[in-house]
């Protein structure tokens, strides 16, 4: 879902540019609380994985494909503020070097994929984590559902921006319906990939999964209790 140059008019692109600058600025402060000597290398690798994952377009219907956005995935693995930075770096490299996503649309893409994608992914994940049993086995399914929700919400956010600054006279309800339908399908792929990757990391290195820390604390306490008994 990389917006090219030209889809949105200049005022809308300037506005999303300002939102992106503000969001990344706040994330630069927030990420300081999430990153330490142990988790910093993980942030670089998660960004690298998201870049790689975004290259894999999977078919979602006749003539259409989708790819990982990675917002929920990154948020669960390294924390939401660091995830915003990871996604922003991915989008910057894609725009500057790969001509994937426009240059004037970089603010739009950071707003949609980094701010909305990560934000929705993290909020849904945290909500589900609170509802589900406080166990390690809850982490991957919660991440998968968060991923599932994040894609259509980002698609709706694009439609909102298109309503403000779209450059073609197209009926908005048609755009909204089509965006929602296709991106709900893409969200299923997003959920599968996110669930598999988060599940794999939780299985081998639960201590490196930011979103699993509360569950990890519970597990550590259980082990200690068992030791005393």
């Amino acid at each position: 879902m990389h917006v090219p140059d030209g889809f949105l008019d200049a005022p809308t692109s300037l506005a999303t540019g300002a939102v992106a600058v503000a969001g990344v600025g706040i994330a630069l402060r927030g990420a300081r609380r999430e990153l330490d000597d142990r988790t910093a290398p993980m942030a670089g690798l998660v960004a690298t994985f998201v870049f790689a994952g975004q290259m894999i377009n999977f078919p979602v219907g006749p003539g259409t494909s989708g790819h990982l956005l990675g917002g929920a995935l990154a948020a669960v693995l390294v924390g939401p503020w660091t995830a915003v930075l990871c996604l922003s770096v991915v989008l910057l490299v894609q725009a500057l070097f790969m001509a994937d996503g426009g240059i004037t649309a970089l603010g739009t893409n950071i707003t949609l994929l980094a701010l909305v994608g990560v934000g929705v992914g993290w909020v849904v994940f945290v909500g589900l984590r609170a509802l589900l049993p406080k166990r390690m086995t809850s982490i991957a399914p919660a991440a998968a559902i968060a991923a599932l929700v994040s894609v259509p919400v980002a698609a709706v956010a694009f439609t909102g921006l298109f309503a403000l600054g779209g450059q073609a006279p197209v009926a908005l309800d048609t755009v909204l319906t089509a965006m929602l339908a296709w991106h709900s399908a893409i969200g299923i792929g997003e959920a599968v990939i996110t669930g598999l990757v988060v599940g794999s990391v939780v299985a081998v290195r639960p201590d490196l999964v930011y979103g699993a820390r509360p569950a990890l604390d519970v597990r550590t306490l259980e082990i200690r209790t068992g030791g005393v008994a």
Partner: protein, 107 residues
């Protein structure tokens, strides 16, 4: 195995998987337009897209300029892009990290 080498082993495996996805698996990705592009085409606003200012760049469209074989060209572009992201995001995280965290001994 010490915690340090256990950490290194995991991070290295994660990196290798990412590079294989970018460098090898990407060749087998679907070439159909993605959801947004498809919707733009169907509903009639795809024509408003403009070429990016970087459309003539050496790595544009995930192909290395001048490399004829599309599998090699795409794979190389993926690996170069992935390494760029690793350096930028990894470097940024390193700059921002808290030093001497409480569980530093686990590094």
């Amino acid at each position: 195995m010490s915690d340090r080498s256990r950490n290194r082993g995991f991070l290295l495996a994660f990196l290798v998987v990412s590079l294989l996805v970018a460098g090898v698996a990407s060749y087998y990705a679907s070439s159909h337009p993605d959801g947004l592009e498809y919707v733009a085409e169907q509903t009639g606003f795809l024509d408003t897209a403009e070429d990016s200012a970087t459309a003539e760049g050496a790595l544009a469209d995930y192909q290395v300029e001048g490399v004829g074989d599309s599998r090699l060209s795409g794979g190389l572009a993926g690996v170069i892009g992935a390494v760029l992201v690793l350096l930028l995001a990894g470097g940024l995280a390193r700059l921002l990290r808290r030093r001497g965290a409480p569980d530093e001994q686990r590094v």
